[in-house]
Subunit: 432 residues, 2 copies
């Protein structure tokens, strides 16, 4: 199978359902599936939609080639295998633009087509949205906490090697300046950053003991004085003295990866200034999350390196989004139809804002029946029409949406403490 094929990144039951539905004809009914989150992660006040661009891109590779078909032949009948061999999504997809904020019940993605062509996309759609949205939502909180100081994503080593690439993209989307991950640069254009680890200083050890200066000299020779030297392998104060001695006062930056980062940053700033390196920047890293970043606001920190917490969603590694069948041949459907509040039916959404731009309410309404509301911005956009990609899926546009979203949250929405969603969601039922 082509390594780029995404067709088998799928739960078996999608294909057994397909087989059964092809047999009784239900496969050809017109359906709408919707991606949404019933709730935000515990205590979060907003989420950031991410994954739309990657999902739409992977659709083109969602093809069952010969190798994929032969992997399925032991449990699927000939008719189903023939359907899959010719599979190509020819329906419509719309939803929230990537980078929009979302709230509980927001119809983040809507997939329209036959039951057969929509049902098989469930696993891939959810994998991408649940992962990327979890990372972007955590990253946006860190961006808010950093108040304009740059953040570097360096958590590739703490997550699956391919998830790392998507995590770098999601963090960049949310406002990080770049990532350590080289494949994220190649695949998504995320600026790659980084200079050296402790291993580089340690490898300059000789029988006479450590030789930090030799390591710094080698790094400056290779990367120039604008590089970032890691100064905490042995003693930070001695490391700073060595760094400025080797690189001179035009040294680009130093990185501190251990100790009480606030105290260390202050002492480092003083020492650098004393040594005449008053333009040398200070990068801190080491177990930073949004709370630690916020706690360093008053310190002379120029940039943050963030690893584990951002790639694991800072306590919420998945966004709990679901992919639900909400409409069949125009009939709204849902599990347990006895419940009062209806979530069935194809939907769109608007966002109400004050004249200042501050958001007030999310309004989810039946498709094509937008209520007349002043200062309401339509949130639902088209991404795919009859199988063809339409609309702006650029990462730059998504970055701008996150930045705009964060400035339009009510003040309480930016609080890091646990709370309710920043705005309420009103769901207008289909009203059959």
């Amino acid at each position: 199978m082509s390594p780029a094929s995404t067709a088998l990144l799928t739960d078996k039951y999608e294909l057994t359902m397909l087989a059964a539905a092809l047999r009784d004809g239900a496969a050809h009914r017109r359906t709408t599936f919707e991606v949404f989150a019933r709730r935000l992660p515990d205590g979060r006040r907003y989420g950031v939609v991410a994954g739309t661009g990657r999902f739409v891109e992977t659709l083109a590779q969602f093809r069952f080639d010969d190798a994929a078909i032969s992997a399925l032949a032991d449990f699927l009948d000939e008719e189903t295998l023939a359907y899959l061999a010719g599979y190509e999504f020819r329906g419509d997809i719309d939803g929230y633009a990537e980078g929009e904020l979302y709230f509980p019940g927001s119809p983040v993605l809507s997939v329209h087509g036959t039951f057969a062509e929509c049902v098989v996309l469930e696993t891939l759609a959810l994998s991408i949205f649940n992962h990327d949205t979890a990372i972007a939502s955590a990253a946006a909180r860190m961006v808010g906490a950093a108040e304009g100081r740059p953040l570097i994503e360096m958590g590739s080593r703490r997550t699956h090697e391919q998830a790392a690439v998507a995590a770098a993209r999601a963090a960049y989307l949310a406002g990080f300046s770049g990532s350590s991950n080289l494949e994220a640069q190649r695949r998504h254009g995320v600026p790659a950053l980084g200079t050296a680890a402790h291993a580089f200083t340690l490898v300059h050890t000789t029988a006479d003991g450590p030789d930090e200066k030799a390591a710094f000299r080698a790094q400056v020779d290779a990367l120039g004085v604008g590089t970032t030297l890691l100064v905490d392998t042995y003693d930070i104060s001695a490391g700073l003295a060595n760094a400025v001695e080797i690189a001179g006062p035009d040294l680009g930056a130093v990185r501190i990866d251990s100790g009480d980062l606030g105290v260390m940053a202050r002492q480092t700033r003083e020492q650098l200034d004393r040594l005449g390196a008053d333009k040398t920047k200070i990068v801190v890293s080491g177990d930073l999350d949004e709370y630690a970043i916020a706690a360093l606001r008053a310190e002379p920190v120029d940039a943050y390196g963030v690893g584990t917490s951002v790639v694991t969603g800072s306590g919420a590694p998945t966004a709990s989004m679901v992919y639900k069948l909400v409409e069949v041949d125009g009939i709204p459907v849902e599990k347990r139809s006895s419940r009062k509040e209806s979530h069935g039916g194809r939907k769109q959404a608007l966002r109400l804002c004050k004249s200042t731009g501050t958001m007030v309410e999310e309004v989810v309404h039946p498709h094509g029946r937008a209520p007349e509301l002043p200062d309401a911005r339509p949130l639902t956009e088209s991404f795919v029409r009859d199988g063809e990609v339409v609309g702006d899926l650029s990462l730059d546009a998504a970055r701008k949406r996150v930045a705009d979203g964060l400035t339009s949250l009510p003040w309480d929405g930016l609080k890091l403490s646990r709370g309710e969603p920043a705005i309420p969601t009103r769901i207008i039922p289909p009203g059959r």
Copy 2:
């Protein structure tokens, strides 16, 4: 670039270090890098090593082809690019066999070779070990909690689409019976399981309302009476009656995905028995973790479907393993050499056990200098020699190791509550 190449799944700083080290010759020094965890996730009593097989397999694809080289040309010099173009790991790798239990400080993987050939593997090695080990360690707790009842991994949708494949493998390694993920079956031989979702019942809705029987009929026609019917889309009691009416008393199984699963399982068992379907099995799913699984031990549950909690490591989504340079040209090295307890130097490990097989202590000792201890089992095995794969990397062998490990833990080690590592680790320093 070949989509299968893993070379750019790497942090930029590995390659800037390489460039600087090639320039001053440090690149050619003989080094040992070690993968280990300073601690277990909060309150965990043991961990399960996973990722060894995947890491050794991906080494073969760790090649910088023309496309990769051109992606790096903007920040690397000619000499470094030429080195990478010819890169192939020719060193040695040893460590704990996949599926072994590990504890804080256990030298899980040891990579030996020149600084240049070892340093560039850091990110890929850690990504694989931190992810796979986190999943396997959580999964093993669930296997222990299930006390022999089968577990099915169905969390693909809650994690990155490629992480999902590795998560299915790691859960299977730890003792799960199979996974929903089709690619995990194709790539790793993990049995794929699953039959239908609520969408399949819902798509049989007509203008007259829901028609659960039509859905069940279609499924039984396509998949046979041995299938598993999902009975909680509307009313469970009515769903069970419909299921047995359509499939007859030989129905394979029913799945319940909502409600208080203990109460539901008991009522379901009673109703099935009353309907003559006393051999029909009961599968439960829906937000299960190791605690919920343990709480269902007394209930008539035949299998558990586990999603979010297993693929996110049940609260510990990463194993916090590090890849540290510990030896250079035979000299033990470490960050902050002033610390008392030395972790420098190439290491191996033994495990002390009682004559009953119960493990007592982990002993980490300098390479080639095993202390003489009765009832000690060597833990360090060879995986790669001079770049060639050696040793048994099969998933079946790893599954057996986990099962053996769980039975050899001291009783306290299987407790789900938070505690200390089940056995202590003694580290014998290099003693230069």
